[in-house]
């Protein structure tokens, strides 16, 4: 069907909890599939975004690859959505922001309990860490925010149902949570 909404999703500095919560819409996925087809997403394994209607971004931005992926989504998605606490304010990964990056790396790879012959990973294939974890709205324009850690399945359902119906999305009080 040519008129299906194209949706892309990704997890940046997130835990995939928001994606798991999205899958919690359970059998409503069958109804959703009538209106939506997935482009780049962990659900499809498509590696790069083509032009889409909706991009759902889980997680904040903690490394150089996150920046590139986020920009690819912004370039291709008409509507970009920050999904969950980490995309909105950096979330738990951003709790490292007041600790110098070198100290974080040393703690994990050099001085941590049980580390032997430690070394800080330096493979050219590994994306470089940013000195701070950033919410995505600090890097690209974001159109909508779905708060929660994670947003409940009902939040995804309410939001996507509104968009599919051509309505301005809104969340009732009981679906707005920061935890």
């Amino acid at each position: 069907m040519a008129d299906k909404f194209k949706v892309a999703t990704t997890s940046l500095a997130g835990c995939f909890g928001c994606h798991m919560s999205f899958l919690d819409i359970d059998e409503r996925m069958i109804e959703l599939a009538k209106h939506v087809e997935f482009d780049r997403s962990p659900i499809t394994d498509i590696e790069h975004c083509s032009p889409c209607d909706i991009g759902l971004i889980e997680g904040g931005v903690c490394n150089s690859e996150n920046v590139h992926v986020l920009r690819e989504f912004r370039k291709n998605c008409k509507i970009l959505v920050a999904v969950g606490a980490c995309a909105i304010n950096g979330g738990l990964p951003a709790m490292r922001n007041h600790i110098p990056l070198e100290e974080c790396l040393n703690e994990s790879y050099i001085d941590g309990i049980g580390v032997e012959n430690g070394q800080i990973p330096n493979d050219p294939e590994l994306p470089l860490l940013l000195d701070k974890v950033h919410p995505i709205h600090e890097i690209v324009k974001v159109d909508y925010y779905l708060p929660g850690c994670p947003p409940s399945a009902d939040v995804f359902w309410a939001f996507l149902s509104d968009l599919i119906a051509g309505k301005e999305p809104s969340l009732p009080y009981d679906l707005v949570h920061f935890d």
């Binding site: 606490a85 304010n89 950096g90 951003a94 709790m95 007041h98 709205h137 707005v176």
Partner: protein, 238 residues
């Protein structure tokens, strides 16, 4: 003859010496607020209770009610201002709700939910703030302090102890503790003090009590802050 003010077109009575906030609470009208608690001297610092009085912005918690005032409490402009103020409070500190024991019972969160705030709009400060866990029963997480001054007032006015103060200005503003070491354990605070229980956010917490009520079943998970605040403040002062 009783005197009246008008809030959003509704005429309400007030008595001499009442602020606009006092009169509003008595008339069951909610004006969003965080630094205000009717048990303590008004402080007027959070600015969430900004209303238009005869066309000019004033803090309802400190502004005296006078005969015939025309007050606007609900408008698109005021709601937007209040949302921006709340967003500024969120980015100024480090408010990571999923990792905070106070989540669901937090008035900062309650106000954000009430204002339908989904994002923080501004770039985050990610300020470097400390946690003081020195006291055996009371924890201070400065990351969550919004400088509402309620603990300062509670300690002075109710506990008669003077445990807290706000020091510095602007970005250097911080909550300080009145003890030689600067740590809570060396202060006069006790677990039964009003100051230990007054914090509207998760900055001052009683240890080992945080998860007695599960997340999802807490105050603002179930009820909007306007109903919660009016029920409490009217019961105590109505």
């Amino acid at each position: 003859m009783s005197q009246t003010i008008t809030i959003d077109g509704k005429e309400i009575p007030f008595s001499e010496g009442q602020t606009i906030m006092d009169a509003a609470i008595a008339a069951d009208i909610y004006i969003p607020h965080l630094c205000h608690n009717p048990d303590y001297t008004p402080h007027g610092s959070c600015k969430l209770c900004t209303v238009k009085v005869n066309g000019r912005n004033c803090s309802a918690c400190t502004f005296p009610a006078t005969e015939g005032q025309e007050i606007q409490n609900q408008s698109d402009e005021l709601e937007k201002d209040r949302k921006r103020i709340t967003q500024m409070l969120f980015v100024e500190g480090n408010h990571f709700c999923p990792s905070c024991e106070k989540t669901g019972n937090c008035q900062l969160q309650g106000v954000a939910y009430y204002l339908d705030m989904h994002d923080n709009h501004f770039p985050h400060f990610f300020a470097n703030r400390e946690v003081d866990s020195s006291h055996p029963e009371i924890l201070i997480d400065h990351n969550r302090c919004i400088f509402c001054n309620l603990c300062v007032r509670a300690s002075q006015e109710k506990d008669h102890k003077n445990v807290f103060a706000i020091s510095g200005r602007g970005i250097n503003k911080r909550l300080i503790i009145n003890s030689i070491s600067g740590q809570l354990k060396d202060s006069d605070i006790a677990i039964d003090d009003c100051a230990a229980h007054i914090c509207p956010t998760g900055a001052i917490l009683i240890k080992r009590t945080g998860y007695q009520v599960p997340i999802g079943e807490r105050i603002y998970d179930k009820q909007k802050i306007d109903a919660v605040a009016l029920a409490k403040e009217n019961k105590d002062h109505g």
